[in-house]
Each structure stands twice: as structure tokens, then as C-alpha cells.
């Protein structure tokens, strides 16, 4: 276990180094002078642009800038300084992360609560009415992009209800920190959660159904029934338990990806999360912030992959960490 963690940490460091370098490389594939001009604003003089170039360190070589960034990140832990407002990037990430984390965790709970039971249901009675209904549910939401779903919900459940029916079920405004007011935090997150969860729930329904159907056809399920165990024990202890591995993999990947920013959903519901942060900084050529959000996303994916591997070994005695 210890050597597994050490190896994964080394792996993470290498991935982050390569990624940060690639970010710099891609970014400077353009014209650094141009970047400085964009940062100062439209009516800047040539002198101002030159000054800005020096201030932002854009006059140095690409390699030097990258190395400077890396040492800054390592020794000051600030992930560089925002080109625009001179804030440490880490401060901005710290502000955005709780929003994205709220969205991700709440959404994940919701889609698991929806997807897993429906998937189990339809696997236990394949070809039944319920199975067909759940297939229709899954296919419907699988074929709707989540931002369309978000916009539709926003329109009907928010604007329509509020403006026409005068029902203030869902509040206006955006994110309220959980530390400030739990109730407000919750009601403000409901629509974003639903919009993220419905699509994923469909994915998990399909996944759970397929995996459980496979397992229920296994010989050891017949053995469990031959022992005279109650139905539920056979289904859950022997069936569902053995069908979890693909779910865990998908879940780890989804959480890791989402924590790196749900760009579209955050945009639709104007949530100031990581996704929104990376999008804005990309448009304003705010290199340190772009780089920071990319590295954060990559780190989450690597870390959650490692967690999935650990969970695998915990779930299945045949799997060894290596």
C-alpha cells in the first residue's frame, strides 16, 4: 500500500510537470507581445505594453518562465499570480472550488440515488414494464446534452414559474456558500444538481443494469440460491456487491473530471466555479489562471484514478495494488 501511494505520487508529479509545460508551450505558440497588449487594455501605448511584458515576465524565455512558475508553485504554493488583478491564482481557486465541489458532490449523490436503484430494478426483471420504462428514461436523458437540459429547466422551472405563475420555488441569484446559509445553499443548488444528475443517472442506470445482469447469470448466484438464501440476500450480498466494479470506475472518473470544473453547467447557472474560472481566464489570456485550473483538473483525475485502484483492491480480494 505504501509503495503504491509513493508510486502514484511520483506519477502525479510527472503528469503535472508535463501538463504545465504543455500549457506554456501551447500558450506561447501565439505571440507573447500580443498577450501583454491584451492584458493592459485597448488604448495602451507601446511603452505600457513593453512594461507589462516585463512585469509579467513575458520577456524571458519560455523555459525560464515555466521553470519560474514551477518553483513558485512549489515553494510558495500560490500557482503563480493572476495577470489581471495580481491575486495569487491559488486564492481564486480556493474561492471557486467550493462551488464546483458542491455541484459535483450533490449531483453525484443525486445521480447515484436515481441511477443505481433503477439499474438494479431493471436487471432483476429484464424485459418487464419497469425495465422498458427505465430504458426509455435512460435513452431520453442520454440523448439530451446536459446544458440543453439545464437551459430547459432554467426556462420552465425558474423563469416561467417565477414570472408567469409567480411561484418562487427556486430563488434567483447564484451560489450561496454552505458556511453562510445551508438552506439557501441547498435551494440554489437544486436546479444545477438536477441538470448534472439526470444525464449521469441515465449512464449509471445502464451501467448498473448491464453489470448486474452479467453477474446474475454467474454460477455463484445459482449457488447462493441453492443454499436457500432469501431473495434479497442473493440479490444484494451476492449480486449487486459483485456488480459494483464498473460503477466504481465510472464514478471515480466522473468525480475527478467534474471537480476539475463543470464548464457548461456552471456557465448555464452562472456558478462561479472552477469551470467558469478556467473559461473566463482562457478568454482573457490569463495564462497563470488557465494553467492553474488545468493542473487542478489533472490532479483530480490522477488522484481519483488512484482512489479507484485502491477501492478495487478493497472490493475484490483477487486484485492486488501494483
Amino acid at each position: 500500500m505504501f509503495s503504491f501511494v509513493v508510486r502514484r505520487v511520483i506519477y502525479l508529479v510527472i503528469v503535472l510537470l508535463i501538463l504545465s509545460f504543455l500549457t506554456y508551450l501551447l500558450f506561447f505558440g501565439g505571440n507573447p507581445g500580443n498577450i501583454a497588449a491584451q492584458v493592459v487594455g485597448r488604448n495602451a501605448t507601446a511603452a505600457q505594453i513593453a512594461n507589462t511584458r516585463i512585469r509579467l515576465g513575458l520577456n524571458h524565455s519560455l523555459l525560464y518562465q515555466w521553470w519560474h512558475y514551477v518553483t513558485q508553485a512549489v515553494f510558495h504554493g500560490n500557482l503563480g499570480t493572476d495577470f489581471q488583478n495580481q491575486e495569487p491564482v491559488i486564492t481564486e481557486i480556493k474561492q471557486a472550488l467550493p462551488v464546483t465541489a458542491s455541484l459535483t458532490i450533490g449531483g453525484a449523490i443525486l445521480w447515484m440515488l436515481l441511477g443505481i436503484p433503477i439499474g438494479i430494478q431493471s436487471a432483476t426483471k429484464p424485459r418487464s414494464i419497469r425495465d422498458r420504462l427505465s430504458t426509455i428514461f435512460a435513452l431520453t436523458f442520454l440523448s439530451i446534452p446536459s446544458f440543453v437540459l439545464g437551459l430547459v429547466m432554467l426556462y420552465f422551472l425558474f423563469f416561467d414559474l417565477t414570472d408567469h405563475a409567480h411561484l418562487h420555488w427556486f430563488p434567483s441569484g447564484t451560489y450561496v456558500p454552505i458556511t453562510q446559509n445551508v438552506g439557501q445553499w441547498f435551494v440554489h443548488m437544486i436546479l444545477p444538481w438536477i441538470s448534472i444528475a439526470l444525464v449521469s443517472a441515465a449512464v449509471y442506470t445502464r451501467l448498473m443494469r448491464a453489470s448486474l445482469l452479467d453477474v446474475l447469470g454467474e454460477d455463484y448466484i445459482r449457488t447462493a440460491r441453492a443454499k436457500g438464501l432469501p431473495r434479497r440476500t442473493v440479490l444484494f450480498k451476492h449480486g449487486v456487491r459483485a456488480a459494483l466494479s464498473p460503477i466504481v470506475t465510472q464514478f471515480g472518473l466522473d468525480i475527478g473530471t467534474l471537480l476539475g470544473g463543470a464548464v457548461i453547467t456552471e456557465q448555464v447557472f452562472s456558478l462561479q466555479g472552477i469551470g467558469k474560472l478556467s473559461l473566463t481566464s482562457l478568454f482573457s489570456k490569463n495564462l497563470p489562471v488557465v494553467s492553474g485550473t488545468i493542473l487542478l483538473g489533472a490532479a483530480f483525475i490522477v488522484i481519483f484514478n488512484a482512489i479507484v485502484d485502491v477501492l478495487y483492491a478493497v472490493l475484490d480480494p483477487r486484485v492486488r495494488l501494483s
Binding site: E218, D219, Y220, R222, T223, A224, R225, A226, K227, G228, L229, P230, R231, H238, R241, A242, L315, D316, P317, R318
Partner: protein, 349 residues
């Protein structure tokens, strides 16, 4: 009254490609302490018929009756069946490698079988599991009980399955090719184990096998299945000395000293008929060396054949089969003589 009596069992699977008539009129009976061998080629319906009667086959159309200890298993509620399975009727399956749950410790899986039917504490159930593993000859049972199935060899897994099946000293054990996947020495040990159970606890045993040698050694009586039907039913001695059905004769003729397995030897030319097509004549007719026109007009029923009481055969020739065999002679002569080792084993049964 016999412990278990199956009458005219029929099992049909309705599939997208059509109806599969997997079992068509299976009948047999079994007393306490008796061993019934079921033999037949792959796909002849041995597993389906036995698993249907204990309610382990899903989604098939089933008819007939299977009365166990006064209860018709085909009519019984799921609750009744759950109470019987594992407690009064145990099963050992064909493939020991996949029959144990990969994610639970072997000891816990056996303990679970005990706990399903007895109100005993966890630790008592564990202790019982260790005892059972010791009984079936697994070395270091305490340690082994805490291991997962993937650490067990095939033979050990089958022993563990047997330990599980024996946990509650069932009245009837259904062993579906318990030794097919195992090597010969392990095979003999497993058969000994089943035999011991039968003598010590008066357990009735249904032994499904491809191996005529095994049948000769342990079975009291035999059902020979062909394409979902029983074609010959007899006590073991009578079946080996006086086989009436041409299929049985073919089986015996093709197996030197009863030692080889049916599936390994291309014994009888041709292949069994498709189960998707309704049979209008004797299912064996296309492969039968003695076929006559009458064979193809109706399916011959199981009828008394020969001199031994209870010897049944589903062949129109069986009515005068003794005469046929006397003139034909081949079956009687090619059946192994008393000197065969397997046969000596069976003589003591």
C-alpha cells in the same frame, strides 16, 4: 413411498429463435440412501431437469410433477423451496471454479449456508464451517476457511462446494458432474466422499455424469437420457448386463472397460436432433443401426423390457428385445466382463 419421484417432467425454454424442448417426459424415483445415476450426451437435459425440480431454472415453461417427501416441488411456493434448498436438498454443480463467490471467504460462504437454515451464532457457524472443511479432507481447515476461493485449486473448491452441500446433512444430494473438471485421483476422493455421506446419513444421491465407469461404481440405478428424454431406466447391474435401448448399447460398446468418457469418444456416428424441432418419431432413429420404418411414425414410450423388474426402455424393439439381443449378440459381448476393475467396484454396490 419413494423419497423423490419425478413424473413426466417437461421443460421448454421460449427463446427468440424458437422453443427449446430441453426436457420431454423425464421420470424416475429415488429412495433414501439410494444413488441414481443420470447419463447422457452433452445437451441431453441432465442439468436442466435436475435444476428445474429444485427451482433454479428461471423463465422456462415447466409441467409434470416432482414429489419430494410429500411435497410437489413444481407447485411449491418460493418460500417452501427456499426452506428446502440447502436444508433438505443440496446441490453440487458442474463447475467448481465458478460456483463459489469470488468476493467472500470460503469459510463464510459455508457458514452462510448453515445460518440460512439454523438459528446459530456467527462464531458457531464459522466453527461448523471449519469442521466441514476438515470432514471433506481439506488440510489446515482453520486457515483455509479464512481464504478466498481464488487461492483454492479446482479439487479443493469442489470439496468446499461439497462441504457446503453437506452442511445441513440433506436428505437428498444432487451432484451435477461433480468430478468432470477434476483429475482422476481427486475424482476418486470426491466420489468416496459422496459415497460416505450416503452410507452415514442415508442421503439419497442423484449423480449426473458422462462417465459410465463412475455409474458402474456408485449408482444403484440409472437413467439414460437422450435429447431430453429418458430412453432407458434400469438398476445398474441390469443396465450393464442387459442393455435394451440401442443408444445405451452404443454407449457401452464404445467404452472399453467403462473407463473412458462419453464426451471424449465419438462413440456413435451422427449427432443428437435439434431440441427446437418437435419429435415425431424416435429421437435416436437417425443414428440407430436397427432403425425400421415404424421408428419414425411415433415416439416410443418407456416400457418394461427384458426380464429384470423395473427395467424400462423406450424402443419399439425392446418388447422383443431379449430375442433381438440373443441373435444380435453384439451388445452383450462387448459389455465388459466381470474381470474389469470398474465392474468389480460396482459389484459391491
Amino acid at each position: 413411498m419413494p423419497l423423490f419421484e419425478v413424473q413426466d417432467l417437461r421443460v421448454t425454454f421460449h427463446t427468440d429463435d424458437g422453443d427449446v424442448r430441453a426436457v420431454q417426459g423425464m421420470s424416475f424415483s429415488l429412495d433414501r440412501g439410494e444413488t441414481l445415476g443420470i447419463v447422457g450426451e452433452s445437451g441431453s437435459g441432465k442439468s436442466v431437469s435436475t435444476q428445474t425440480v429444485v427451482g433454479l431454472v428461471n423463465g422456462a415453461e415447466v409441467s409434470g410433477s416432482a414429489v419430494f417427501d410429500g411435497v410437489d416441488l413444481l407447485q411449491a411456493s418460493e418460500k417452501t423451496m427456499r426452506g428446502l434448498r440447502g436444508e433438505s436438498i443440496s446441490m453440487i454443480f458442474q463447475d467448481p471454479l465458478t460456483s463459489l463467490h469470488p468476493l467472500y471467504k470460503v469459510g463464510d460462504q459455508i457458514a452462510e449456508a448453515v445460518k440460512a437454515h439454523r438459528k446459530i451464532s456467527r462464531s458457531d457457524a464459522r466453527a461448523r464451517a471449519v469442521q466441514l472443511l476438515r470432514d471433506v479432507g481439506i488440510p489446515n481447515p482453520e486457515g483455509r476457511a479464512r481464504e478466498y476461493p481464488h487461492k483454492f485449486s479446482g479439487g479443493m473448491r469442489q470439496r468446499a462446494m461439497i462441504a457446503m452441500a453437506l452442511a445441513l446433512e440433506p436428505k437428498m444430494l444432487i451432484a451435477d458432474e461433480p468430478t468432470t473438471a477434476l483429475d482422476v485421483t481427486v475424482q476418486a476422493q470426491i466420489l468416496d466422499l459422496i459415497e460416505r455421506l450416503r452410507t452415514e446419513h442415508q442421503t439419497a444421491v442423484i449423480l449426473i455424469t458422462h462417465d459410465m465407469g463412475v455409474v458402474a461404481e456408485v449408482a444403484d440405478k440409472v437413467v439414460v437420457m437422450y435429447a431430453g428424454r429418458p430412453v432407458e431406466v434400469a438398476d445398474t447391474r441390469s443396465l450393464f448386463t442387459e442393455p435394451h435401448h440401442p443408444y445405451t448399447q452404443g454407449l457401452l460398446r464404445s467404452i472399453p472397460a467403462f473407463a473412458a468418457r462419453l464426451d471424449k469418444l465419438e462413440a456413435i456416428p451422427g449427432a443428437p436432433p435439434s431440441l427446437m424441432v418437435e419429435q415425431t418419431g424416435c429421437p435416436f432413429a437417425p443414428r440407430c443401426p436397427h432403425v425400421v420404418t415404424a421408428c419414425t411414425t411415433s415416439v416410443p414410450p418407456l416400457e418394461p423390457a427384458g426380464s429384470a423388474p423395473g427395467h424400462l426402455s423406450a424402443c419399439i424393439r425392446s418388447r422383443h428385445a431379449v430375442g433381438v439381443d440373443a441373435t444380435d449378440g453384439s451388445a452383450g459381448q462387448s459389455a465388459p466382463s466381470g474381470e474389469s476393475t470398474s465392474w468389480k467396484g460396482s459389484a459391491s454396490v
